[in-house]
Amino acid sequence: MLSLRMLARDWAAGELRLLTTALALAVAIVVGISAFTDGLKTALVTESNRFIAADRVLTASRPAPKTWIQNAESFGLRRGETVVFSSMLVTGERMQLTRVKAVSPTYPLRGRLEIRKRTETPPHTVDHGPNPGEIWLEARLLPLLGLNIGDTVEVGEARFRVSAILAGEPDGGGAVLNIAPHALIALADLPATRVIQPGSRVGYRYLFAGPDEGLSAYHAWLKSKLTPDYRWVNIRETQPRIARALDRADRFLLLASTLGVALAGIAIAISARRYSERHYDAMAVMKCMGGREGRLFGLYLQQLLFIGLLGFALGAVLGWAVQGALALLLERYVSERLPIPGLRPLAMGGLTAAVCLAAFALPPLLSLRTIPPLRVLRRDLGNEHRQGWLAITAGLLSLTMLMWFHSRNLQLTLSLVLGAGVILAAGGLAIWWILRKARRYVANASANTGGVMRLALASLQRHPLRNALQVVMFALAIMLLLILVFVRTSLLNDWQRQLPAGTPNHFLVNILPDQLGDVRSWLQGQELETTTFYPIVRGRLIEINNTPIDERMAREGRHNEIQDRALNLTWSKELPTDNTIRSGNWWARGPANSSTEVSVEAHLADELDIHMGDLIGFQIGPEALEARVSSLRKVEWDNMRPNFYIIFPPTVLDDYAHTYITSIHLPKGRKDLLNTFVQRFPTITVIEMDAIIAQVRGVITQVTQAIELVLWLIVGCALLVLLAGVQASIDLRIGENALLRALGARRGLITGSLLLEFATLGLFAGGIASVAAEIAVWYFQQRVMEMSYTPHPWNWLAGPLFGAALVGATGYLSCRRVVLVPPMRLLQSQPP
């Protein structure tokens, strides 16, 4: 096959390496990143789903129809069920309000239960809940009720044997502020207790686990049937920290792959243009020999197809390897193995390769069609680049489409393309103007400068348009690289800030007022840092502006879980750490003069349609309390400190029964202190968050490494663009410099002037890129990553210097042939 033979010859001559490498890198980035993000999301979500004991949960305040739940099996889903209610546990004279969870034999679908058979033995994991007739109690219930393992306890009308101490529930960690102690029974025993009566406040949770498609299909089927009483819950709602980290990592990786593909596309366009220019003569000669235009162009198209296949194959292998390396990085922290990626990433890689070739490589190749055979006699024919505008338009359009396809964000894509386009065009024009104007000064300057400077200046001003275009190209590559580096740095800093060392990792809940002093001094004695001790008064939010909340919500056809449960109300003189006032004012220092003020968490206010100045009614025990909203607060819920929806000024709640909550940081090596604490204060609940924090930290660390690895791939792409950009003018430079060497210029002079020339181009490019990147990052962080923007003042100096170093080195390395090879051979190799 002639086209294959031509391809082999061009390959041997090194004509196609850059084009193929750029294509392979584009495919590798797309395959690698999409395979990895697909796998990462699946694995981490599965891992995180341990915290809701399932992949999805349907919560309800009344039982869901059995047919709904049973139908989940036809979607290939496993299911489980829990019913949570508050009930008095009674043994002889003693009784204790307890949060009882009745669980089906399949519970938990994700994660494990932990129990102890005796108080002093370490906990061990089990796959399912208690057997019928048995009850597992949280450790503090035993002293409260004076029970031992093997004793019996009554729940409603049924009697249960205490068979184990409940040490951990997969879905227990999130419920930080469920103050009541926990107990677990089998769902089969629930009817016998007769505790659930009409009007009882009961939480029904239907658990589902299975493949994503099944879950989505089941949800789609179920959605239309769900009334506001039901909520479909996934990990994003229950583990916002992991969800946010994943979201941002995902967006970063999408941005990276978008920019990577854009860079590779530019490298493909430049190298294809150079390839086609270098084949003008060949085309003319072959036409001269009788080759028909269509057939000859067909040969080039076939070559392009082979290059596409080769680039795709190489890229797919490289992408798979990248995905494997990224997966390896994560393996230590994700107990679920990353699933083997499906065919989607390969399909996306294939599509990217096809689009890149069609959009970036084909338009320059089209100019080959119109090369007249007469070019063999007149070499000036065919150099007009009639397809120039077509190529640029097609390239820009396709670049936009590709970026849109990868970023899935039209606004981001258009802003990036238009913004970068305007800035780069303006920068390019400015450089062109400077270089043109420089002509006048070069003659004067030359007289006073050394040979190196004179040569470099002369070369720069000799081709102002070509050099300005090169500056734009280099600026584009450097800009995309800078954007990615800035966003990555901000992302990592943001993650670091989220979980600084010493983040509280244990909550102490249910501290009675008379224990407060003892607990404080015990903690101080152990030199443990605590956050503030917040009082908690349990109360229900029942009215807004004298209208019952149930009525208000029903009128709007909405429902909120706040309606079904008591809230933890607190009071505080100071605005708690990580709370910011969105509107209104925090109460003034000193004794509160307006006892009816209340501060409401902003998100809850939005959900319940509460505004500044609204009058809110609470039910605290048998009493009612009204307060006017004086501020709305934004709260960092996942800062591992006690956080509250509702805060009163001091003294308002003084007379209500209250307990205290705090959080402490317990260093890893001092975990055994917990046992001493629990023995010393058996009625205080300790909620351990260290496992979750460790997991979040682990995931973030590894995702960070993944991001670094991806960044290197993008650096590779940017270097390819620089290389392609340098090579676009290399023939001319080699020709000119070979002539200079032939005329007696020394190697040092040529090397110095080349370095200086490229470094100057890089300096200009770095300057333009810094401006463009700063604007782009400002936009991207505000609009896409939802992060605060921090300027990068060092960039204004570092950008141009980085550009000068990078372009100078790339240019020198690409052109060093001119000083290493005898000038005779260089001149011979130049086209006549």
Partner: protein, 222 residues
């Protein structure tokens, strides 16, 4: 074999219309060797390009191998060139990414001939480059490159060979050797030769010589 009538070539320039060729009429018989001579800018190369079907005249007609090429489109002319025409250029026009052997194979491959490698080897042997098959153009001297170009021109067994200043880039001695090879192969294969040159020595080797001056045929020496 080759004739043209009232051939005109005009191009637009910034200074108005430029008449490159004016009313050229000539006929070249099969097997003839004809030199087209003239000063630089007299229109020699333009005439060669038109006769070979590489370009179209502004007016007039051209027949090559009894087919009128002035009414043909580019593809039809390409077919005709493939069947009948060979070229040798002043600047050799070898493809730099191909070896000497591959350069000679190219027209045969384009023509769909199966034994292209063997035929190309034979022609390179014939021009004395049998030992330089795998050399790239930049590894060959000017004379050697032109010999590869001659081998390539004859490899497809053309009926007409157009040569544009074939010795223009070569020293006298090498040029003489190239002329020898060119005429030897021409004789052996009975090809019609149309040769553009300003070298009197080379023109004298041809059976006929046509002289151009300012785009007009001023003399035909037989």
């Amino acid at each position: 074999m080759l004739r043209c009538s009232a051939l005109e070539k005009t191009v637009e320039t910034s200074e108005g219309l430029l008449h490159i060729l004016k009313g050229i009429t000539l006929e070249i018989k099969a097997g003839d060797s004809v030199a087209v001579t003239g000063a630089s800018g007299s229109g020699k190369s333009t005439l060669l390009g038109l006769l070979a079907g590489l370009d179209l005249p502004s007016s007039g007609q051209i027949w090559l191998a009894d087919e009128e090429i002035t009414t043909m489109d580019e593809d039809q002319r390409a077919d005709l060139r493939m069947r009948h025409v060979g070229f040798v250029f002043q600047s050799f026009q070898l493809l730099s990414s191909l070896t000497a052997l591959e350069n000679v194979m190219l027209p045969l491959e384009l023509n769909g001939k199966t034994e292209s490698r063997e035929a190309a080897r034979r022609y390179l042997d014939r021009v004395g480059l049998g030992t330089r098959l795998s050399h790239y153009p930049n590894q060959l001297s000017g004379g050697e490159q032109q010999r590869v170009a001659i081998a390539r021109a004859f490899a497809n067994a053309p009926t007409v060979l157009f040569a544009d200043e074939p010795t223009g880039n070569l020293d006298t001695r090498t040029g003489a050797r190239i002329i020898e090879i060119l005429f030897e192969l021409n004789r052996e294969s009975g090809t019609t030769l149309v040769l553009v040159t300003h070298e009197q020595r080379l023109a004298e080797r041809c059976q006929r010589s046509l002289e151009l001056e300012a785009g007009q045929l001023v003399s035909a020496v037989c």
